[in-house]
């Protein structure tokens, strides 16, 4: 099968989605720039022009309401935020309106399935307000779908699913994933929403993880396999709705669980998954659950502190060996594969 980068897979999905449905349009700051949101909207702009791919002023709040209003007439808006941190300005519209629309109008006002793409930053001085991951605050609310594809094939398939959804969908794309490559099927296909993916099968321990942490988990698993440690990696993919069965089945098999996320631990996805396992698979646990996420501070921007801030394959490797009760493997993995060179 051919390989594409994550960015190319997103781009291909948007073009296919726009061909499939003439009511899809893309908006947001700079979506029609020549660079096209890290290459993801350029092809769509070249193919469909400014009628369907048009930039907006800086207006995250009203623009979200405008997309909802357009969706009330069966349009399918795709709203792009270069950094998901800007979505805080749109929370009223996303959470008070879009998430509740079908429910609070009793189904009589139709549906408003907007698709919101938000990009997560990491490292290279992104700092406190350009490197947050908003999955937990958004997924807290019923009525909204939150997706975090880690693999190029899923980025494509989940965007195409989102464009068919009845619910508003937030897709969080990690900036550090944009250049990774993977096999991506040709043509139109949908990846089901609400299904996790066992990316690597193992028997000793489950690492259930999101987005960029999937890449780090795969590296740790690969490394530890050289020492006879068998790690199962579960890519959550869909934060809400969450695939309880795949996670629980994995824990039932391995008896050990590490949950790794791109955001903070408290009140986060790692806590949600831990609670799920405590409630539904407690008897299968052979060791306490371990949560891996950001340390409990805002993100620093200086490299010296960034180096200890973001969790990596090394933090996972240490947590895995500790959970298995074996001596720490002192080898430190080579530099992260993250080749992001800034500035944003």
């Amino acid at each position: 099968m051919r390989t594409l980068t994550y960015a190319q897979a997103i781009s291909e999905a948007l073009v296919l989605g726009m061909k499939e449905n003439s009511k899809v349009f893309i908006t947001g700051i700079g979506v029609d720039y020549p660079v096209g949101v890290f290459g993801t909207t350029k092809e769509a702009f070249d193919e469909f022009g400014r009628t369907r791919v048009f930039e907006s002023p800086s207006m995250e709040n009203a623009l979200t309401g405008i997309c909802i209003g357009a969706a009330s007439m069966e349009m399918r808006p795709v709203l792009v935020h270069h950094r998901n941190d800007f979505m805080f300005l749109a929370f009223d519209q996303m959470l008070n309106l879009a998430a509740k629309w079908r429910y609070m109008y009793g189904g009589n006002a139709g549906q408003v399935p907007i698709v919101v793409r938000g990009i997560i930053g990491r490292g290279w001085g992104q700092g406190a307000t350009h490197s947050q991951s908003l999955q937990s605050p958004i997924a807290h609310f019923p009525g909204i779908v939150v997706l975090m594809p880690a693999m190029p094939a899923d980025a494509k398939g989940l965007i195409l699913s989102a464009l068919k959804s009845k619910s508003p969908v937030v897709i969080l794309e990690h900036r550090s994933l944009f250049d990774i490559t993977g096999e991506v099927p040709e043509g139109y296909y949908e990846t089901p929403i609400g299904k996790a993916n066992v990316l690597r099968s193992g028997t000793d321990i489950s690492v259930v993880c999101t987005s960029y942490m999937v890449i780090e988990a795969m590296r740790a698993a690969e490394f530890l396999s050289r020492f006879g440690i068998s790690v199962e990696v579960v890519d959550i993919r869909s934060i809400r709705p969450i695939d309880e069965n795949t996670i629980i089945n994995s824990v039932m098999k391995t008896g050990r669980l590490i949950v790794a996320d791109t955001s903070w631990v408290q009140y986060g996805v790692t806590s949600e998954v831990s609670a799920l396992v405590a409630e539904k698979a407690f008897g299968y646990l052979k060791a306490p659950v371990v949560r891996i996420g950001l340390p409990d501070s805002p993100a620093p921007s200086t490299k010296v502190l960034e180096d200890v801030f973001y969790p990596s394959a090394n933090s996972l490797q240490k947590a895995i060996t500790k959970a298995l009760g074996i001596a720490d493997i002192t080898t430190t993995l080579a530099l992260e594969i993250d080749n992001f060179k800034g500035p944003y």
């Binding site: 002023p57 207006m59 009203a62 519209q93 008070n96 309106l97 189904g107 009589n108």
Partner: protein, 338 residues
């Protein structure tokens, strides 16, 4: 009863006789319904926060009479007027307030989340300014789909304190969208006056114009004035899509939320005398007087119209009061499906 889709001539056109009757019917339907809500509210059976628009009905009825099939209305928390004027039924409104399955939003929305799709698309929203951005979005869809429809945003004067209106005006102007921004300026935001909310020399219409949006002011209690201003704008907007803003002066008779008059419950931020002065400019009386004094209708005819509307409102109200409540099992209806 007919509420929308009238000829867009001026209010005084002779052949608008049936339309004038319908506009008056719509106006008194709103008044009777709101008065009946206020009366029945004390029974604790309508367990939803009501924001009555008594005194402001002229704007809703005058604007909505100009709408056509496929247009859209986005309203705010004080939305009963707009719901009824745009084609929603008294039964569905009252059933919603009683938390009934037969309510316009199946008892899931309450007073501030009303919806209907009778000829025009209607929803009301609770958070200030949402109606404005939604209306702009609907208008964007009209433009993209090349439809000759109009999207109306009703909003109160306090929305000028929110950022969302400036973003929305700007976007509507850039894209020449067919949005009719209707500001209902009743001077009060809950109990706050303009002293703490606006610089004396700052005009709302000037703010709109600074974004490139055509803007005008009018007397919202005189429905002839409302109808004519809106109809002139809408005719132009359907031909050449563009946003227009009209600020109407009006007055809220009752308290911000609830069925009482402010002076009756000891509030002093405004006086009974001020209310009484505005009640002399009652939109229902003003239209009544126009219709009788200018020989559009006789006294008898007007009384007959009122009697019939009251009868209809009472019947629907009673039926709604005893309409079906939702099944417990339906709690998750429309909550989860992806």
């Amino acid at each position: 009863m007919q509420k929308i889709g009238f000829s867009l001539d001026s209010f005084n056109e002779p052949r608008l006789k049936t339309n004038r009757k319908a506009i008056f019917e719509s106006l008194v339907e709103i008044r009777f319904t709101e008065e009946m809500i206020a009366e029945n509210y004390k029974d604790q059976q309508m367990r939803t926060a009501i924001h009555l628009g008594t005194g402001q009905e002229g704007i809703a009825a005058g604007v909505c009479a100009n709408l056509q099939f496929g247009d859209a209305v986005f309203s705010h928390h004080r939305s009963h007027n707009h719901f009824l004027a745009s084609g929603g039924s008294v039964f569905r409104l009252i059933a919603e307030l009683y938390g009934s399955q037969e309510g316009c939003s199946k008892g899931r929305g309450g007073s501030v989340h009303l919806s209907h799709n009778q000829d025009v698309f209607f929803v009301s929203t609770a958070i200030l300014g949402e109606s404005v951005s939604l209306a702009v979005g609907r208008a964007l869809a009209y433009k993209l789909e090349q439809r000759k429809n109009i999207s109306v945003a009703f909003f109160g004067d306090a929305v000028w304190e929110e950022g969302v209106i400036y973003e929305s005006l700007n976007f509507a102007a850039i894209h020449s969208l067919p949005v009719l921004f209707i500001c209902e300026n009743n001077q009060y935001s809950t109990e706050s006056t303009f002293t703490s909310r606006k610089a004396v020399n700052s005009e709302f219409t000037e703010r709109a114009r600074s974004f490139g949006v055509e803007a005008m002011k009018g007397d919202g209690n005189n429905i002839r004035n409302v109808f004519n201003l809106v109809s002139e704008s809408i005719v132009k907007m359907r031909e050449n899509p563009k946003p227009v803003l009209i600020e109407f002066d009006t007055y809220r008779w009752r308290e911000h939320v609830g069925p009482n008059f402010d002076h009756d419950v000891g509030r002093t931020f405004r006086s009974k005398i001020e209310l009484e002065q505005w009640q002399k400019k009652d939109p229902v009386q003003i239209l009544r007087n126009i219709l009788i004094n200018e020989d559009f209708f006789s006294d008898f005819e007007i009384n007959e119209i009122e009697r019939k509307v009251l009868e209809e409102v009472s019947e629907q109200f009673l039926r709604a009061k005893h309409s079906l409540k939702p099944e417990i099992e339906s709690l998750f209806e429309n909550a989860g499906e992806v």
